[in-house]
């Protein structure tokens, strides 16, 4: 077992490694000192095609049955080099990576130090390789169904792509209708086509696609299982309307008495009734009762009785034409349904920074200081003002509008230091929409830098300045305060070095794009990583932008970071293609890094004594008990057994087992012992 022929391939990585590590010396030292090493070489780019060809050829020529590639982090190319080994017939789990770039050459500048450390790191891996055992991929059945969390443009696009790929999709949307933030926009840059016109067809297509099952007004309760075999519990919040019976005829929300409720869809500019559909093109165009504000539910709560027993107001149910059973049901309860899916796409979108955070700009006190999305609603034909730009306070047409860029973004003091990427474009769009609707009006824009970097984006923002005549002032606004009817905007214009004071009728804040409030909760339910701004983290920013840290879970859209619609749709397509690849095979090959309980010939059978500590600590309850029986059926001993399908390879059981009768393949006792043994400091 011990006399493996090991090949060591030390990579220059251009100069990333060889600049601070003497790769030749490492190779030479390894050949001289490490037992079992029969071939060593160095190469400029191991991950390149010729590099991998070198690897494959040497495995065959030298008859290697163990390989150590000393290069970048295993997180980068472990897979690449293991696939190269597969092609030569060598079991991939005899290939180990020494991380001598991210954790050595890049962080230790002096050559002697880096070289010595790299030699140690290589020795640790050659020792581990000597103890590596062949492991074969575990075949696991794949549930041919995908789950999409979030019904915005990202979720819709992903769901459509997967459905077109012939697979079933379950979409879960928290609001009463799909559409997300894009539905709230008026026109979209850079082509100024109206968002409703390009999105509504997609929403309808998604609704009518029989591969897509849509759950609106629903949230994810819990996610268990692993790639190919997720079990997801969905909480269908009580709508108080039976979706099958209701035809969306609108007679109920026409008669609803309490109609002064601030509409979330209209960002508080318009009102809605207690029983409502968020916007005319809502899909499904069936209402939901807002149990917080409906006077019937309030009364029921006060009297602590069943909602249907309250007689305070029955207008909507009376108006409902559906017979014999009414489509409205006050006593409807939340319902938990469980679905099995093979892959999950997270498209939960973003949240616009609330303007209350900015005391300097009136902190939500002045009605005429609005956010970007609120301006979208003003400009939108289906908005509260049917597209006429009016001041929310007195409805007058604003003569002078000041747009303030980077409100919240690029401002560490207010908690987000990143750039929200889309505000420069949508502010330029806003000045155009404003000028198209208020020809004699004048738009001022306070900016730090204009970042319009997409295709056709620069031309779009230049058009706002040259053709639409918007005045761009490079500087920040220090204060906005009300003076009579006007809003005084105190700012600076750094290009002329002067203080600027504009008496405006309306101020639009280009608010930052922040992660959803419950982003952390979703991440922990799916056990995927999130960054310091609570945006969900992709495994690798360049090479794996749509894959999350958990296998089988993908990310699309602004939940992963600020981006505009074209990028979101592109990501949705990418995530969908990953899912299609996953669902294309009947069986899924899973990393064979799973736990294994000791099994021996009689009379010992197994060193496991059946204390089942492992079963108690296993997060995936992947450990069952097995009775070892004698020929006459009597139980000799009860021992633990691992269900390879459920085991995720965390190694908790191996560390808890006192007699070490259960070990994790790939990180078994001998391998870890060999690594620690090889750490020897001389």
């Amino acid at each position: 077992m011990g006399n493996k022929k090991i090949g060591v391939f030390v990579c220059h990585c251009g100069t990333n490694i060889s600049a601070t590590v003497d790769v030749e010396k490492v190779a030479e030292e390894t050949k001289k000192n490490n037992p079992g090493v029969s071939y060593t070489t160095t190469y400029k780019y191991m991950c390149s095609d010729p590099g991998q060809k070198l690897l494959r050829d040497k495995i065959k020529e030298e008859g290697l049955d163990g390989v150590v590639v000393a290069a970048c982090s295993p997180k980068m190319h472990e897979h690449t080099f293991r696939n190269a080994a597969i092609k030569t017939g060598l079991n991939p789990y005899h290939v180990e990576i020494s991380n001598i770039r991210e954790q050595c050459s890049w962080v230790h500048p002096e050559i002697p130090v880096g070289t010595e450390k790299s030699t140690d790191l290589v020795r640790m891996m050659t020792e581990k390789v000597r103890k590596d055992k062949s492991l074969n991929a575990i075949k696991v059945p794949v549930t041919k169904r995908a789950l999409v969390i979030g019904g915005g443009i990202a979720g819709i696009q992903a769901a459509l792509d997967i459905a077109d790929g012939g697979h079933e999709v379950i979409m879960v949307e928290r609001e009463a209708s799909i559409g997300g933030h894009m539905a709230q926009l008026s026109e979209t840059f850079p082509t100024l086509d109206c968002s409703q016109c390009i999105m509504t067809p997609k929403m309808v297509e998604a609704a009518q696609n029989d591969n897509i099952t849509m759950h609106t007004w629903s949230e994810i309760e819990s996610v268990d299982g692993y790639i190919g075999n997720f079990t997801v519990k969905i909480r269908k919040k009580a709508r108080s309307v039976d979706l099958d019976l209701c035809t969306g005829c609108s007679s109920c929300w026409q008669v609803c008495p309490c109609s002064k409720i601030k509409s979330e869809f209209d960002m508080g500019l318009g009102n809605r009734t207690a029983i409502y559909i968020p916007f005319p093109q809502a899909i499904p165009s069936k209402p939901v009762i807002d149990r917080e504000n409906c006077i019937l539910f309030k009364d029921a709560r006060k009297k602590n009785i069943k909602p249907n027993d309250s007689k305070v107001c029955r207008k909507c149910i009376d108006a409902c034409p559906i017979a014999p059973v009414k489509a409205i049901d006050y006593n409807q309860e939340d319902e938990i349904i469980e679905v099995k899916v093979g892959a999950i796409i997270v498209a939960t979108g973003y949240k616009e920074l609330e303007d209350g955070l900015y005391g300097e700009y009136g902190g939500g006190k002045y009605e005429d200081v609005i956010t970007g999305l609120q301006f979208e609603r003003l400009a939108s034909a289906s908005g509260p003002t049917e597209g006429v730009i009016k001041r929310p306070s007195d409805g007058k047409e604003p003569e002078i509008v000041v747009f303030i860029q980077c409100v919240g973004s690029r401002d560490p003091a207010k908690g987000c230091s990143y750039c929200s990427k889309t505000c420069c474009m949508y502010t330029a769009k806003h000045t155009m929409l404003y000028k198209h609707k208020v020809h004699h009006g004048h738009a001022f824009v306070f900016y730090i830098d204009i970042r319009c970097a997409g295709k056709g984006y620069e031309e779009f923002s230049q058009r706002a300045i040259e053709e639409e005549g918007a005045t761009y002032l490079r500087g920040r606004v220090s204060r906005v305060y009300k003076k009579g009817e006007k809003l005084v905007v105190l700012g600076a214009d750094t290009l002329t070095g002067s203080v600027v004071e504009i008496e405006a009728d309306m101020v639009v804040l280009a608010s930052a794009m922040k992660a959803q409030d419950d982003a952390m909760e979703i991440a922990q339910k799916l056990s995927i990583q999130y960054d310091k701004d609570k945006f969900l983290s992709e495994i690798h920013p360049k090479l794996k932008p749509v894959e999350s840290s958990s296998a089988g879970i993908f990310l699309a859209g602004t939940c992963q970071g600020p981006k505009d619609i074209p990028e979101t749709v592109a990501q949705a397509g990418a995530a969908a293609s990953k899912v299609l690849a996953l669902l294309s095979s009947d069986e899924l090959e899973r990393e064979p890094v799973v736990a294994r309980v000791d099994r021996q010939l009689p009379p010992v059978f197994s060193t496991c004594i059946g204390c089942f500590y492992c079963q108690k600590v296993c997060p995936y309850s992947a450990i069952e008990s097995e009775d070892i029986k004698a020929r006459d059926g009597s139980v000799i001993k009860t021992v633990a057994r691992v269900n390879e399908g459920l085991c995720q390879g965390c190694g908790l059981c191996a560390a808890t087992c006192r007699s070490k009768s259960i070990e994790l393949d790939g990180f078994n006792d001998e391998q870890i012992y060999a690594e620690i043994n090889a750490v020897e400091f001389n």
């Binding site: 005391g359 300097e360 902190g363 006190k365 305060y481 009300k482 003076k483 009579g484 005084v488």
Partner: protein, 295 residues
């Protein structure tokens, strides 16, 4: 009078409002009111300048030592809390306390300079904090006069609230503590925008033009908001708004004639204390309209 012995806190007048100084009416009204309500104020023996003016701009160690000396004196006479009505003093004392706490070397130098230890657990409060923490119920209880629709614009200026991370007093963008006190006296606080705008402060001598512009905006905004008087809690703001008002009127040929009173004077009037004893006769713009409102 309460039975139990009234809590005693240190009183640090500072150069601007002590007896015989330019804004002594603020000091006298604070002391006069404290004889009626709130804790007993005892002037810190042998207090010195708080190092606000030019000192803190030119010599950081000197100004810190000056402030810390006052605090150490208070500590030695057993005070746990010090009232510094003038915001320039309270700001300077608080910032010095923080500087010394954060910088061991500075602390050692300061202690050597003032030959006294400073362990910095004394709390510095401004006049609004004093009234809000101790006197709100007493005012309601002891109020004798309620003014007939006297509309008052509360003006905080900047030093009471800034720098917010250090002073941690009220909401730096939209403070309400003075409004609450004015309401307690029976007057009606008006909602206006420039209550935290700077009045130009120390530039009143070197750049009078800038001060005129800033104070004009403030007065204009207060008058437009329908205020009959402006309440302040800072001698510098009072000087710029009251003493300069005639010059502003001449410069911008606009009549304001709006009296600028200290919040302590308002409380005094509500408690029916003699206007003279509150120093109301020492203002440039006649405060008669305010006094009559309380009649």
């Amino acid at each position: 009078m309460q039975i139990e012995e009234r809590t005693k806190i240190g009183y640090y007048p500072g150069c601007a409002i002590t007896m015989g100084s330019s804004s002594e009416e603020y000091g006298t009204s604070v002391l006069r009111v404290s004889e009626e309500i709130g804790p007993e104020l005892e002037e810190i023996h042998d207090w010195n300048c708080c190092g606000a003016s030019s000192a803190h701009a030119t010599n950081h160690k000197l100004s810190t030592a000056l402030s810390i000396r006052n605090i150490s004196l208070a500590e030695q006479s057993g005070f746990k809390e010090i009232l510094a009505p003038c915001p320039m003093c309270s700001q300077r004392l608080i910032i010095s306390q923080k500087d010394v706490a954060d910088d061991e070397k500075l602390k050692k130098d300061v202690e050597d300079a003032i030959e006294m230890p400073c362990n910095g657990d004394v709390k510095i409060i401004n006049y609004l904090e004093l009234i809000k923490n101790y006197c709100m119920d007493e005012i309601a209880e002891k109020k004798k006069k309620t003014p007939k629709d006297l509309k008052v614009a509360c003006y905080y200026g900047c030093l009471l609230l800034r720098p917010p991370k250090v002073l941690k007093f009220d909401d730096p963008e939209n403070p309400t503590s003075m409004e609450e006190i004015v309401e307690a006296t029976g007057a009606i606080p008006v909602d206006w925008e420039l209550k935290t705008n700077c009045c130009g402060g120390g530039f009143t001598l070197s750049r009078t033009d800038v001060v005129l512009k800033l104070t004009n905006d403030i007065l204009e905004c207060a008058v437009d908001a329908g205020a009959d008087a402006i309440a302040v809690a800072c001698p510098m703001c009072h000087a710029n708004l009251d003493m300069r008002q005639k010059k502003i009127e001449k410069e911008y040929n606009r009549k304001f004639d709006i009296p600028v009173v200290y919040i302590s004077e308002l409380i005094g009037l509500a408690l029916d204390l003699g206007p003279i004893s509150l120093g109301l006769n020492k203002h440039f713009i006649d405060t008669e309209s305010v006094v009559n409102a309380f009649a």
